[in-house]
């Protein structure tokens, strides 16, 4: 079972896509140029503080709002290993899966965790926070297929005979 440990950043409920990446930066040419503005309306300093392998923990309805796929791409480009929230908005959820950004629904962790602490995630099993284990569900099969294929782009490349 895949397992990883990371430092946690904590955000609130209803973290919308305009917070994750505001519209004014959406037409920048690359995600690399965009990522420094990630979360800027809420916490302008956060993008520079996030390190590779860090984990975001948030409340309900993470990623609500726009269909902009730049949102999960920016989160991933900032080095975030996974997002753990009480719940996710549906377009963000699909976009994240298609880009290989791991999202985990967990109802209780958010209420108890402190920013800066460390957690260990065992995919499809649980989150370990200071010895307490928070169970997490397995992803539906069709989503596992997309992730296993390496994302939707790779799945389509395989369909078109460009990858084995």
């Amino acid at each position: 079972m895949e397992q990883f440990t990371g430092r946690v950043w904590v955000l609130g409920d209803d973290i919308d896509t305009d917070i994750i990446i505001p519209t004014e930066y959406l037409a920048l040419k690359t995600i690399e140029e965009m990522k420094k503005y990630g979360f800027s309306p809420l916490r302008p300093e956060l993008a520079a503080q996030i390190g590779k392998g860090d984990i975001l923990v948030a409340g309900k309805n993470f990623g609500c709002g726009s269909s902009r796929e730049q949102a999960p791409e920016v989160v991933k480009a900032l080095g975030i290993r996974c997002v753990i929230a009480k719940s996710f908005a549906r377009i963000f959820f699909r976009n994240a899966i298609n880009n290989g950004l791991l999202l985990i629904e967990q109802p209780d962790l958010y209420d108890e965790i402190k920013e800066g602490d460390t957690i260990t995630v065992t995919v499809n099993q649980d989150v370990d926070y200071q010895g307490k284990r928070y169970p997490i569900a397995s992803l539906p099969e069709n989503l596992v297929e997309i992730i296993t294929a390496g994302g939707l782009v790779k799945a389509m490349r395989r369909r078109n005979g460009l990858e084995d």
Partner: protein, 417 residues
Amino acid sequence: MGQTIIEKIIARNIGAASVKPGDIVTVNVDRVMLDDIMMPFIVNKFQEMGFKEVWDPDKVVLIYDHLVPASQQDDTRHYRIGDEFAARHGLTHVHRSDGICHQLMTEAGYVKPGDVVFGTDSHTTTYGCVGAFSTGIGYTEMAAILGTGQLWVKVPETIRVVIDGTLPEGVMSKDIILRLIGDLGADGATYRALEFGGQTVEQMSIASRMTMANMAIEAGAKCAAFIPDEKTAQYCGIQLSGFQAGLRGDADASYVKTLTYRAEDFLPVMACPSQVDKIRNVSELAGTVIDQVFIGSCTNGRLEDLQAAAAVLKGKQVAPFVKLIVTPASRKVYLEALECGALQTLMDAGAIITHPGCGLCCGRTGGILCDGERVVATNNRNFLGRMGTSKVEIYLASPVTAAACAVAGKIVDGVQV
């Protein structure tokens, strides 16, 4: 077992007798909407996936609206990439400056009752106003549709909303949908369909239904659905087929819940900063001083919205310190509002009339605000930083309420002006 509107649409699309919530199915797409802001990303993904041809160019509509006219140096790059893609793949449905995507998709007849439609914008839920199944997706999934004509969907559960009676004076469909979002919460309909029915909805214009379907996403909904009727047929320029005429929830359909409202109970409301589900009666907010009013967007930029605002503003003047900015949703709406005199009335009252487009609603062009300023706006989102800096307060309201606030220079109940 009966079916909901959305279940009927999906079942017919995949050639099944019925589907049930939770089923994961692959639908055949009837129409897609691509917008300018996402175009470079869509084209990149399409190429990266190794596609050479678009599955059906006639089913593709490309609309430039978020970045028209250009306000930043690189914006025209999006038009160039879009134009090249359209030329290479023989796309003929290209709108370069005709208005806001969701207005054009229905107004120009691209969406019919029973269609399955996807767009690279979250407010694609709008087309539920004519009884289509439509929802927003990201650019990677759009690229996959352009290549294959298909997408997987999970059949959503349906929440039924029934509204009977006559709305009080000065209350618009915007007040209904805001109140509903407040009652459901910003995630109350996540992964679900919102199906609307009842006398009040039957009596509504397509434009009013459009406002409600547009904002279904603000409760997290995957899609919205209105029963196609004679008004729908006329609006779409069609005769309803047997299938289209049968797009209503069966008596024994299974709904996850049913919400029932009396139209007479609705009041003018606002979504307060910075959550769309933070709903208050306008009377509770009365007296709050404002700096700007925006009337427009894919939510409330149609002829009836501009006429409702003009009726409030007729013979009055906008408060001297308030900027009233009005954005018709399309060129067609602009011309109609010109012909009927609504624009004249609005301008006489001191309004600035802009070109049709998305710029102001998403804080991209013309009319953005600064720290500490307040705006009453008829669009669909009041998120932090949406229309300027993160310290701008955005109050979402109906066109009637917004117009009344423009005159008063503060928040006020539209009926009182």
